[in-house]
Symmetry: C3
Subunit: 342 residues, 3 copies
């Protein structure tokens, strides 16, 4: 792709260093970071701390937010350089799947409906009445239980488990070892022990979701646990039974959502954040790292702490807590002086 | 099952709406939530917020704690409706396992003792001298190492791993991807690096336990890591080496128990709670969400915070911390006014 | 091994009870804890609370830090008894791997270079151009993706996943179900949803590392995520993309390192501790249980809290917080009395 085509694709303005006008037709074959990009590469400046490195870069082009004088390469100037970098990187990247066809070392139940284009690696298991749409890849040791339905263009990576009845939309990536549709954690304590509440529901993953390595999404007690369109879960995220996570959300590593919590769209949870159970959460709620939300929250905004408060309040509290041991001493002194006075 | 039989089974009192006396002999074929239950279904009222929905429900019967006038269906009145609902749901549910017999695509060591009734899915591995009792199911990609012993009626779900020597009692469910008997985390730092302490012990899971998806239970350094009878672990729970978890405990998602902690019976850990290492914990201890217990505790009760305090104290602290930034200002003002006075 | 040989191997001083001089030549065949050690065993005293049990122990020898009078066995006196115990235990222990040769039920791509000594269990998968060094074991359901390289003497336990391009040094243990090289969590939010940043980098695990059960180490966006020589990760630890963990570090259960954090050597993270993203951490930093480090830190030392402070400060804060509700009352009283005075 020529540099001017790339700039056009990204809706960007193109600045060419003086005397290098022929650069507009130079071919770009890959995207790489500033320090390793070479001739034929587009690089990017999304971290201002790296600005000094631009001058020495050998990249043919750079994606950035504002023109830099002295930059020795074509400048592709965008409103959102990180977004442009993401889109550009996708242009030069395609996930590779080395296997072809259907392995005879896999188990495919005769009643399963598997599109002819689907690649099945050895040791994959596809159960009764399951269906797998066009262009999917099912890696080794993946388990697709009975009555699972997987839409077009999905990748089920090694060891991922879709228990009975799990529904997966189109263009979903299930990373290695993730478990979808394990039993929800439902028990009633009694004199005789913890009585299991059968978990009869299922899991629904809508289109364009990504489920991280070793994430768990439990099946519902009744009805469905739902992860809505475009939502991305990082490694080791846990989603409890009967939860709904709204569209285009992002949950970072080791975050957890306890049972029956309903979350709006564009929810963000930083690492190890947790929420629930049984809450109603509005759109555009952001939990900071390890925030713990234990009450319903309709208002958008960033929350921190356990239990959460608005992030700006939490920062004040965190500073105040550092002063607390001295505050106690000061109050004791005030008390003494006041006693002396009165 | 007829409604009056169900009421009798649950030890419940039956109230029939006037003029519908024939309902006592109506057949119940399933249990469902209020909004989706239909004719032939029993529903339940365990969440008071749903009381308004009862009148419009099409269920033939309802399990609840107190009679509701205007309820249009048979009322099955119980002391503990949640327990009754759990028991009733079990009546109409049986976990399904679609496979039958022993797959030739599995690996079964000739020295393994596998009861003739055991169902073995493709790609399961059963090692030397392992034994598997009557009525068990071993799902695809499950690994049963050497000298593992599994009692009657267990289900080992896809990708679950029982490392060498793991002992499992009767009626245990090991969910997908759980790892039992991985090495405990034992190292001694030295000038040459971290020196491994061989982990020579094993893991014992007693009867009626349930081990959640992607939970980990490490083998002991010596002797055994023990999960006692009736205890239930949720997804991604971690149990360190040499731990003992007492009978009928419940550990929710992502909770962790550090090495050598001995816990009494009916322990409850909410999500992401953690405890240990090396502690002695009495019976009936409850950790709230993300509570962190770092000292031994003989007294029953609910604990919160990091480090934990009794839950009612933690709630006061949480409120007080919100006031802390203002408190600091107030104390500074008091100090000034006191200085002016004196 | 004779007792005097063992003492010499450990660089220890040997004390023999009077009249039992022949003990120096007694054979030691195993190491066991005080309460279960018998004749022919060496035991150890690393926990002072067990000192009383020494007198009743039937062990032939004991490793300890200071001579105990009345100890009825040979005393192997070391500066660092825990280290000596670890080294001694290794002498009498060898991990067992019951399988031999290469299973015909495994999938080995013809282009993979697998040393003739490597043991491959059934249902293992080794992809294109992968290489596996001398003396390795690849357990059932392990997945070794294309272009992975594994050095000599490694063990890849059941269900472990090495995604494409993962590099593993010598004498590395990858425990069951760990996932190396899953995609890093990189997305850019946009009006159209979360745009994926392709994760084109890989993972490098240097020599002598140990990766715990169900740990996750994400591949880099570009370049490599690196776990350096001798570092040990416990169960369910998560390492984000582009992270570097320095040599001889230890990360305990459920700890997490967020993306692009560079950590020095001999880092220690207690259970559920977390750090990052994007930080620079010096050598010898220790995070206490569930500490949350959100800013770069060059100084060695132990840190606690969220956000972290030096551990001794955190302990003071924790005590102070318990007093906070009463402090608020006291300040209110002081305010009243001051108002009365003025």
């Amino acid at each position: 792709m020529k540099i001017q085509e790339l700039a056009a694709y990204l809706g960007a303005t193109l600045h060419i260093p003086e005397g290098q006008e022929e650069l507009v037709n130079a071919d770009i074959v890959d995207l790489a970071p500033i320090d390793t990009a070479g001739n034929g590469h587009v690089t990017f400046l999304t971290n201002p701390r790296l600005t000094k490195q631009v001058e020495g870069s050998k990249a043919s082009a750079i994606i950035l937010g504002q023109a830099l004088k002295d930059a020795p390469m074509a400048q592709i100037i965008c409103k959102n350089p990180r977004l442009a970098m993401s889109l550009a990187s996708q242009l030069f990247y395609k996930a590779e799947h080395s296997y072809e066809g259907r392995s005879k070392m896999a188990f495919l139940h005769p009643s399963a409906e598997i599109h002819e284009s689907v690649v099945i690696y050895p040791f994959a298991y596809v159960g009764e009445r399951a269906s797998i749409g066009k262009g999917c890849y099912v890696y080794p040791n993946a388990y697709i239980g009975e009555d699972c339905h997987i839409g077009e263009g999905c990748v089920i990576y090694p060891g991922a488990v879709l228990m009975q009845g799990t529904q997966v939309g189109r263009n979903v990536i299930v990373h290695a070892g993730a478990v979808l549709g394990g039993d929800g954690f439902g028990f009633t304590p009694s004199a005789d022990g913890n009585v299991k509440i059968p978990q009869k529901g299922t899991v629904l993953i809508e289109d364009d979701c990504e489920i991280g390595p070793l994430a768990t999404i439990d099946r519902a007690t009744f009805a469905q646990t739902v992860v809505k369109r475009g939502t991305k879960l990082d490694s080791q995220v846990h989603i409890g039974h009967n939860v709904e996570v709204g569209e285009h959300s992002m949950l970072c590593g080791q975050a957890g959502v306890a049972g029956s919590t309903k979350i709006g769209k564009r929810f963000v949870a930083a690492g190890q954040a947790a929420i629930g159970p049984g809450l109603e959460i509005g759109d555009h709620v952001v939990l900071g790292p390890r925030a713990g939300m234990t009450q319903s929250q309709k208002n958008p905004g960033e929350y921190m702490g356990m239990p959460v408060v608005p992030a700006q309040d939490w920062r004040k509290q965190a500073i105040a807590i550092k002063k607390l041991p001295d505050l106690i001493k000061k109050v004791n002194q005030l008390e003494k002086r006041l006693a002396e006075l009165s």
